[in-house]
């Protein structure tokens, strides 16, 4: 086939001179790069398609071909033919199970373009790996099995691709050979897809009928589908115009690293996220609004007069302005938002569900802050795009949320700027990446509600009482003796003339938290509210005793961080489960063990024991009075009473 032969242009002649080699390399440099991914449902032929592309563009070496022949005999699913999927399914588990688990990146070049292709998994459970591949792609090839038509995963992947900012879709209707190269089947699937994807904001949707296994319409147009007048897949990938890049957008330079080898040199290192910058241009520091001008631009090969989107440079300013990692240098006339509350789309990646109220680490390209989801506005049904009410997001679910960060961050909306509108959420205990986020807009309340300054301060209120305010946080299983000990400690403090208050789990649930149940989401909210109340009380100068099971490390840490330095004392009442169940003062363990109460801590809901409690009480064989004295001694030694 002539089209295949033409691809040999990527080679040079065996007797080419050194100058000819240099000329060839220079011509390679003129080519543009297209990053795309293949996605769609399981067994729609994604890996086979990429294997076919690599094979037909002569990018498989002889030793790799020998390995492929070997593997095809051992694991192949295509009878005596080569199983091209085995070229990309690189993990042992993948070859054994014949599925794709994680994204594989492959590289190929044609006379017109360079390509990086991400082959992504079709199984729903590996959606986060599909998202990983999509996040750096400009185009998605969505495969559909001609016999099956659109499936849930076709919709899910298309939706996620659109959320992640992909603007161009190729709808590859694969296995067209198995439906007799039918124009009608192809036309129906293409129409179904356009009807469904109309709202997803794609700039182009290009349906192409292909057979990845036999190569029809992959590299060259097939003569088995005379009715099809469009381009082959590769022709389309070579020719598609991706439109304007980020070079025309306002200047954004997230500061990644401050390079200060000596007192005379203070450079801000980073990658230009959008726009361009020239020597002498005015810039402002995003968060402070402090202005300056560009004195020098240092690129990889020395000083530059101008630099553009995508370049990693070091910028020197005319003035000594305060700025560090996490901040940004931006165009004065078109500044980013700076806010601590915003609305965002979220794709959830973790087995553990999203819990509104729990604190996570939010990271943008260079900035980081703790953050909580203050409101889960709705979950999006990936089949119908209906907005559904939800209390949490499970693995692979998509939702719209309000987020509050501890410190303001600088950002643009994701639709306007993919580089400065994106973030990830990280679990604070496991450090797992649990979500990808795309910012919609800042929330106006963040900008308009300012702290009311009050003249009487926490310290003046505490001074009047002659005490150091603190929150004594008792945690432990139900029936461990938390409330008994807290009650005794309060009596002692009260007798010494201290101003105290006990917040007890059961009591608070009768009032402030009467709307909350015992699911993980509600437990998180339960603790968040109590921690906020305890904080107000400490602010009023009180010694606050909190007696809550508070089973999760993350929320106890959140409570600790709400309080001032040294104001939070974690007291772990470490009574073993068997002992609590034996005591069972309220008869709850008996019910829970019979299955009559759901989500009971220690039975079917976890208790995460503190590892570094300030006071670790081991009540077994000791009287509550004895334990209260231990707490009191600890407090006295540290000047709390």
């Amino acid at each position: 086939m002539s089209a295949v032969a033409a691809l040999r242009e990527v080679d040079v002649a065996e007797d080419a001179s050194r100058d000819e080699v240099r000329a060839f390399l220079a011509s390679q440099e003129q080519k543009s790069l297209l990053r795309f991914l293949t996605c769609g449902s399981v067994d729609d032929g994604k890996s086979t398609l990429i294997g076919r592309l690599l094979y037909d563009t002569k990018l498989i070496f002889e030793d790799q071909l020998a390995t492929l022949e070997n593997d095809s005999k051992k694991h192949g699913t295509t009878g005596s033919d080569l199983d091209f999927a085995l070229l990309v399914d690189g993990l042992e588990a993948e070859r054994e199970q014949g599925i794709t688990i994680d994204v594989a990146y492959r590289f190929f070049t044609t006379p017109k373009r360079k390509f990086i292709v991400a082959d992504t998994p079709g199984h729903e459970q590996y959606t986060r790996n599909m998202a990983t591949g999509a996040s750096t792609a400009d185009l998605a090839v969505v495969l559909v099995d001609a016999r099956q038509g659109l499936l849930t995963q076709t919709r899910r992947h298309s939706f996620i691709a659109s959320l992640l900012g992909i603007r161009h879709i190729v709808l590859a209707v694969n296995k067209i050979d198995l439906v007799g190269y039918s124009e009608e089947v192809f036309g129906q699937i293409a129409a179904d897809y356009r009807a469904f994807a109309g709202d997803l904001g794609f700039a182009t949707i290009t349906p192409i009928p292909i057979s990845a296994r036999y190569g029809d319409n992959v590299i060259a147009r097939s003569d088995r589908m005379a009715w099809y007048a469009g381009p082959s897949l590769l022709e389309h990938l070579e020719d598609i115009d991706l439109g304007q890049g980020s070079a025309q957008k306002p200047f954004r330079f997230p500061i990644q690293y401050v390079n200060r080898p000596n007192l005379d040199f203070r450079g801000f290192a980073g990658t230009i996220a959008s726009g361009s910058i020239s020597q002498g241009d005015a810039v402002v520091v995003a968060k402070s609004g402090k202005p300056s001008r560009i004195k020098r631009i240092i690129g990889p090969r020395g000083d530059l007069t101008r630099a553009v989107e995508g370049q990693a440079v070091t910028l020197l300013l005319e003035d000594e302005v305060e700025a560090s990692r996490g901040n940004a240098l931006v165009a004065p006339s078109a500044r980013p938002h700076v806010a601590d509350q915003f609305a965002a789309n979220l794709v959830w990646f973790a087995e553990q569900p999203l819990l509104p109220g729990r604190s996570y680490i939010l990271r943008t390209e260079t900035d980081q802050s703790t953050a909580t989801i203050t409101d889960l506005k709705h979950r999006v049904n990936v089949n119908s795009f209906a907005q559904e009410a939800a209390k949490s997001l499970a693995l692979n679910e998509v939702g719209v949320v309000n987020i509050s960060t501890q410190a303001p961050i600088g950002f643009d909306s994701f639709v306007e700027n993919r580089a400065t509108g994106a973030f990830i959420l990280i679990d604070r205990i496991t450090n797992a990446t649990v979500a990808a986020g795309m910012i919609q807009h800042p929330l106006r309340r963040a900008e308009n509600i300012h702290w009311q300054a009050l003249d009487v301060s926490k310290s003046s209120r505490a001074a009047l009482k002659g005490q150091e305010p603190a929150v004594l946080w008792f945690t432990g299983l139900s029936g461990s003796g938390k409330s008994t000990v807290a009650n005794l400690v309060e009596k002692k403090l009260n007798a010494e003339g201290r101003h105290t208050y006990v917040l007890d789990g059961d009591n608070v649930r009768h009032g402030l938290n009467r709307d909350l149940g015992f699911t993980d989401q509600d437990r998180v909210e339960n603790i968040r509210r109590v921690a906020e109340v305890a904080k107000l009380m400490a602010d009023a100068g009180l010694l606050v005793l909190v007696s809550f099971i508070s089973p999760f490390t993350a929320e106890r840490r959140m409570a600790r961080e709400l309080m001032g330095e040294g104001e939070f004392v974690e007291i772990f009442v470490d009574t073993p489960f068997e002992e609590c169940a034996r005591r069972d003062p309220k008869g709850l363990y008996a019910k829970a063990l019979r299955g009559e109460i759901k989500n009971f801590t220690g039975v079917d809901s976890p208790y995460e024991a503190p590892e570094h409690a300030d006071i670790h009480l081991q009540p077994f064989g000791r009287s509550p009075e004895d334990l209260a004295i231990e707490v009191e001694d600890w407090l006295r030694e540290r000047g709390y009473c």
Partner: protein
């Protein structure tokens, strides 16, 4: 300055960004330096990322004791020229037991002198991030790896449970004892590497260029007799042949190819007409299918 960047410009910028990201977010990074062409490119990019400052991390060479002599000489020349902090680690137990590729086989030798030695060195210094020069186009399991690739406290890689890696926002958080392997050249191909070496005039070990060298032929592969430790089989006589190396590792485990390529341009021409992949000369990859993945799970780079 043209307003569109070339393909190499973008790869270069991406690598520099990754270097800076690590320096800004980890407390004790290190760069693995294996002396080959990919390490040469890696070093060149690192120097650019932090200029005019010096490298904010040391370089670590895990020495198996069986590297080509020219590699060691080149390494020391580079260290002297650029003034970077060079750490060299050998597995002391392996040295004591005289582990070598001839008596113990490539598998055992590689495991003890490379994988275990690397784990020892990382533990000894407490590094929490380690740069490597691996590329996704080299091998099937590498094609699956993240740019920031998480390792547990035992240096294990869990390929079935990698962290998502979105946009260029990297999750650089690790608990004590855990670490991240970082691959700034992930998206480079072999051609990109050579093109960049040519463009930037980056010095590389002379073994990449053709010269007359003493070799013996074993199992269809040409092995260079680099020193007297190589036991010759009965009737084997080293022949002087015009050869060069596409990749460099331990000399008894890295096969030469016959070639007259004397310049980088010659190498590129040879590579473009080649019908075998570069790792074909690496005997250690071929012990079994999936052997690279297995080694990586055990802590190999």
């Amino acid at each position: 300055m043209p307003s569109t960047l070339t393909h190499l410009d973008r790869l270069e910028a991406e690598a520099i960004h990754i270097f800076r990201e690590v320096a800004a977010t980890f407390s004790k990074p290190v760069m693995l330096y294996s002396i080959g062409k990919d390490s040469a490119v890696l070093l060149h990019l690192a120097l650019k990322a932090f200029a005019p400052a010096k490298l904010p991390f040391p370089l670590l060479h895990v020495d198996t004791g069986w590297k080509f002599r020219e590699m060691i000489a080149f390494r020391d020349r580079m260290a002297a020229q650029h003034g970077f902090d060079l750490l060299v680690h050998q597995n002391p137990e392996g040295v004591r037991d005289n582990i070598n590729p001839f008596d113990h086989g490539s598998n055992t030798h590689t495991h003890i002198m490379k994988t275990v030695a690397l784990r020892q060195a990382l533990d000894k210094y407490g590094f929490d991030a380690a740069f490597g020069g691996a590329r996704r186009d080299e091998e099937k399991s590498r094609a699956k790896e993240r740019i920031f690739s998480f390792r547990d406290a035992k240096h294990g890689w869990d390929p079935k449970n990698q962290r998502p890696e979105m946009w260029n926002i990297f999750n650089t958080r690790v608990a004590p004892g855990e670490s991240i392997r970082v691959f700034p050249l992930s998206n480079w191909t072999e051609l990109d590497i050579w093109q960049y070496i040519l463009q930037e005039d980056i010095p590389i070990v002379p073994l990449y260029f053709a010269d007359r060298r003493p070799v013996v032929e074993r199992d269809g592969q040409m092995i260079m007799v680099d020193d007297a430790r190589m036991p010759l089989l009965p009737g084997e006589v080293p022949q002087q042949k015009l050869v060069r190396f596409r990749t460099l590792g331990c000399y008894p485990l890295t096969a030469a190819i016959e070639s007259d390529a004397e310049t980088t341009e010659d190498i590129v021409r040879e590579m473009l007409v080649a019908r075998t992949s570069e790792r074909q000369g690496r005997l250690i990859d071929r012990d079994e299918t999936g052997s690279m993945e297995k080694k990586k799970r055990e802590g190999y780079f």
